[in-house]
Structures are given as structure tokens and as C-alpha cells.
Amino acid sequence: MTAALRFDPIRLPEKCEQLRKEVRAFLAEEIAAGTFDPHKPNREDTDAPEFSRRVGAKGWLGMTWPKKYGGQERSFLERYVVTEEMRVANAPTRRFFVADRQSGPVLIKYAPEHIKMDILPRICRGEICFAIGMSEPNSGSDLFAAKTRATKTDGGYLINGTKIWTSSAHIADYMIAIFRTSQPTKENRRHGLTQFLVKMKQPGIQVNPIGQITGQYEFNEVVFTDFFVPDDHVLGEVDGAWKQATSELAYERSGPERFLETYYVLTELVRAVGPNPDTRSAEGIGRLVAQLHTMRRMSVSVAGMLQAGKEPVVEASIVKDIGTVWEQQLPHRVRDLAAFVEETATNRETLERQLDFAIKTAPKLTIQGGTTEVLRGIIARGLGLR
């Protein structure tokens, strides 16, 4: 057999269920206190600094990290439970999500000790927000075409250029970005990019908002003009960022956030059809639930592999491919099924408002964090086709 895809039936350990109860109780309290409305994913301001601190105080940020950095040394499967419960509740996770999922682990692997000691505990306390600086005006999926330069100077680097589509840059305290430190070589076009830690909110960095079709404000253009980054903010090997990027993608791509982004419309549809659905609604809901359950089982399986120290890059790409296509189609399938819902359904207005937003959100889901085309390229490589 050519391919070696494995999706073993990993189960969340018993201790996760106690944690799940705690997370649900916490979220219920937050909802009751008016921090957020789980039925309103389309709020304009998704930044919630106080909520972020309270999540940190619970010990649910950086929960897999070493204790000396403020972490809890808990498992990826426990983190998985926290992530999925937050997502399903539509909790405002924007401020801490990127730092917790991606930036923290990168720092743990590549940052000097004094920086880890400074920054990681603050992530764990929910105090700081991270952004990721990858795309540029002429470099999106083709990451290695990045042109923003980091020029060596005394004690550090001077940054000049522009990052774009940078989510949360307007609220972020830090960014982890890739900049060009050398030209690519003939043998290796991926050579010459270096990963940096950038302290935001300083002169030399200008953040310009970009409007989105949902009406929300999430992403930005970030312009660097002779912005100084000290030597100890280089993360990993100079010119060798390409070696560092790939294995972390499995974390970024296989989580529950990759199929639950529009989940709320399914819940609302079930509410609208009531306890005795007609055959059409029942079949539609049954299929969607079967597909959802399957994706979650695949996603948990990848989490289990990560916990076991494996690098399931292809499996993770499959989860994101199938998951994002599903969450993209979900609002449209729900709209189909809702077409004959009784006018008198009490939540009809909520469902329509949610569909309006989910349909506008849908196009981005197969683009952000690795497009469908890029993912299928990775899967094809894994199959031995490239």
C-alpha cells in the first residue's frame, strides 16, 4: 500500500470530562454575566481583554506548556476540550487564541530563555495578544516569495516592507513574522527567510485596518519602516525559517476550530425544526451530524497523535481540507433545510440572522491558515505524487 494514513480511534481520557464540566460552568457564568451572547457570533467587537484574563486565571492558556513558563503541563487532549467548548459557545477567544495555539509553542522551541521567561507567563495569564506575519501583498500561499526585508545592523535588524491580512494586528502586543534576510539560492528557493519576534505598538510600525465582507474588523495591513528588531528576537536559524514552519502546521490545521466556525447554525436549525421533524429535515440533520461526528473523531485522532509525539502533517491537512469545506457548506445546507421551517418557529429570526452572518463568513474558511489548494498539494505530496 502506498499511503500510510492512520486515524486510530483515540478517546479523550476520563479526566477531560471533569475539565469539560468546569469549562462549561465557566462559560455559562460568563454568558449569564453578559460577557458575550452565544447566539450572536456577529458581534462587531470580538476583543475581550477581561474575559481573556479570566480564562488565563483558570489555567486554560498555555496549558500544555512547562510550569516554569506559567503552563500547566497538561495534555493536548485536555487543551482540545477547552478549545472546542469555547468555540461551540462562540466565546470571544480572539485575544488569546493565536498565542495559545501557535505563538507560544514557537517561542518555547526557538526563543532565548530570558524572552520565554518574560513573555510566556503573560500569555498564560491572558494578558497579551499575538499576530502572525506571513502574507504580503505579493506573497500569500506562496510563502517563500516574501520580500519584507530584515537588514543586519548593529545589535539587530532593520525591517522594511509590508505584511497583509494580519489578523488582530491592531490589538496585538507581539507578532511572529518571517522576513527576508538573504536572497533565495538557485538550489533552494525557500532559503533566506528568518522568523522574528516583533514587539508591536512602537514607532516604525503602522497598522492599517482592512474592511471585510462580514462587516467585522479582524485583519490589517502592517507597514514596517526602518523598524529595529534586536538580535535576541531572532527565532531559530537565520535564513532557515522554512525548516521550522512545516511540523507546527499540524497543530494549526487539525484543531476543532477547523470545522466548528459555523456550527451555531446547525444547533439553531435543530431548534427551529423542533422535536418531531419531517423526513426531509431529519435526513438533512442526520447527514450533517454524521459528517460532524466523523470530522471530530478525525480531529481528536490527530490530537492523540500529536500528544504521542508524532508529526501527522498529512492527516492534519486532511482534517483541515474536509473540515473547512464542510463548515463552508454548512450555512448553505442549513439554509436549504430551513426553507420549510414553520414561520412560527420562535427562533426563526435568530436563525436568519445567524445564516446571514455565516454565509458571509463562509468564503474565508477555505482560505485562512492554508488554502484548500495548498492543503491538497501537501496531501498529494504525502501520497507520493509530487
Binding site: M1, T2, A3, A4, L5, R6, F7, D8, P9, R11, R20, E84, E85, V88, Y263, L266, T267, E268, V270, R271, V273, G274, P275, N276, P277, T279, S281, A282, E283, G284, I285, G286, R287, V289, A290, Q291, L292, H293, T294, M295, R296, R297, M298, S301, V314, E315, I318, D321, I322, E373, L375, R376, G377, I379, A380, G382, L383, G384, L385, R386
Partner: protein, 353 residues
Amino acid sequence: MAESDNIVVETAEKIFADLADPQTINNDKKDSWQAPLWHALSEAGLPLSWVPDDLGGSGASLADGFALLNAAGRFAVAVPLAETMLAGWLLAQAGISSPEGEMTVLPASPKDRITLDADGALSGRARGVPFAKAAKHFAVLAHGKDGVSIALVDASKGRIESGLNVGYDHSDTVTLDKVQPVTVKPAKGFDQTTLMLMGGVARSLQIAGALEAMLDISVRYSNERVAFEKKISKFQAVQHNLARLAGESAAALAAATSAADAIANAKSFDDEVYLEAASAKIRCAEAAEKGGAIAHQVHGAIGFTSEHILHRFSLRALAWRDDFGSESHWAVELGKLVANRGADELWPLVASR
């Protein structure tokens, strides 16, 4: 691919490789491979994997038996292995010993019903019964006035209208008209839905296995076939199709092995197991359609010929969708269950797995 890490699967894979090589049996127009294959499987005790030692079987675990069915799917085995395993398992639920030889189960559809009358005779019609014509015995789930009973029936006592499914395997209509069973025993706490879920998971594992094989032969073919002066595997359109096939294969495998694991560790067939088993059948059936179409697309005309082995997998995977409740049936039932539990109970159900 699931590597064989248990002795049952290792034994089966060796037998399949020796006696059920897809190309060899596809060339054999007289089906003369069937008898030696069945003999070898029987010698190894595989058809009665799920029957305890004291009831005449080999007493393998549910988990090992499920893994065996997945392997059988990878070879698209066209002998009543899954059917005999299910029949033996069903009989064991009522403590009935399994006889030697091929068996199948009645009914094989949630819509059909066999009744047990006061004289202990069985009546009713079961459609789409896989391999009924090849079976020496039927394991029958019957409804009587005291509830569900399980019976062992001599196959020659039933009237069989022969038919073929989409995959050219026997799928027959069996009519029982006041047939006296060899043995009949009450099966307290057992019901037809449980049998259908179990059969559905067996079929899901077979479909997942067939998809793994389709992915494998499609990838291999794309790396051999040259068009427009290069291997077709180098065309991005072909690569992306195969990536989607890998996704469908992976989804089927994940859904089926998860459901098998759920049943193997379940104390009862509760809502959680229902979600797992119904979802597996629904998702695997969808994958059979989508994945099979891609496998054929990659192969072009050659895959449409009877000489090529692809149809052994693609058509069987499609045919297996129909057994023990189609995906439409299970989707309606799962949808009703979800609606009945209520909107706010959906996520807790999904998250419980």
C-alpha cells in the same frame, strides 16, 4: 493503512493474499477460487470469529473481528465471511451454537420483519439478504408475542428468489412460510435495531477497506500512466482529485474504526453508540460514492473494463451501502434522535465521543 497488529488480521491477510488476489480472481471466470478460499478461512476459524469457544467458534474479540472485516474490505472479498461472522454473533446473543459452513442473517433491512408464531414457526420475507443462496444456515431475528427471539434455520427450508446487488454479489429475497427452526431461543434485551447497527458497522469497515484499496491502486496507476508526455500524477488536477480521494478514504476509515471501537467497548447500545454506528454507515456510504467516482476518473476508460480490478472495489463499496439500512435510512433515524433530544443536547452528544 491500518497495519495488521493482531494475529487474526495477519492470518486473514495471508489467506487473502494467497487465495484472493484481486487480479487473479478477477481473471477467473468460473469462480473456482471461492471454494479453496472459504476452506482456508474456515480452517483458520475466521468465519466464526465472534462465536465463543463453547458455542463452536474461535472466540476472537469484537475488536479483532472488526479489524478482520476491514482487511476483507481491502481485498473486496466476495465470500460470505462478514455474513457468517454476523450470523454467528447473532446466534451467540441467545446462546445458540453455530454450525459449520456458510451462514447469513435475516432480516438484512430495518424495514423487514420475521415473526415467530405460537407453534414456534417462523414466517416473513427478508429482501436484500446477502449471500442467502450460498448459505447453509440462516441466523434469524424474529418478533413473537413475548418479544424478540433468535433462531437457527436450515437454509433449504426458505424460499429464495435469487438476485444480484450492484457489485454482482448475491443479494436475495428469502421467504419463510411457517418454517420450523433448528433452534430458537428468546433474546431478552436484544432488538432488530442493534442487529442493523452491528451489520451497518461491519459494512462500514468493508467500505473503508475498499476505499483504502481504491486509493492505493489509483495512486499507483497515476504514477504509471503517461499522457501529454508526463505521468498523470504530475497534473495538479489529478493530484487534487487524489487528495480528495485520500480524504474520503480517511473519513470512512475514521468513522468505521471509531464505531467499531465504540461497539467493542460498549456496555449497551445507547445513544452514543447509536451516533457512532449510524454516522459510520452514513459517512462511509457517502465516501463510497465520492471516493469511488474519483478512483474511476483517475483510471479513465481502463477502469471501466471488466478486466480491470477497480470495479471489484468500487461497485462492492456502492452495493454495501444498501445492506442493514441505507445511509438515507440512518440519516432520518439519526436526525430524529437528534431533534428529539433537542438543540442544546446536540453538542454534548457529539462531544461525548
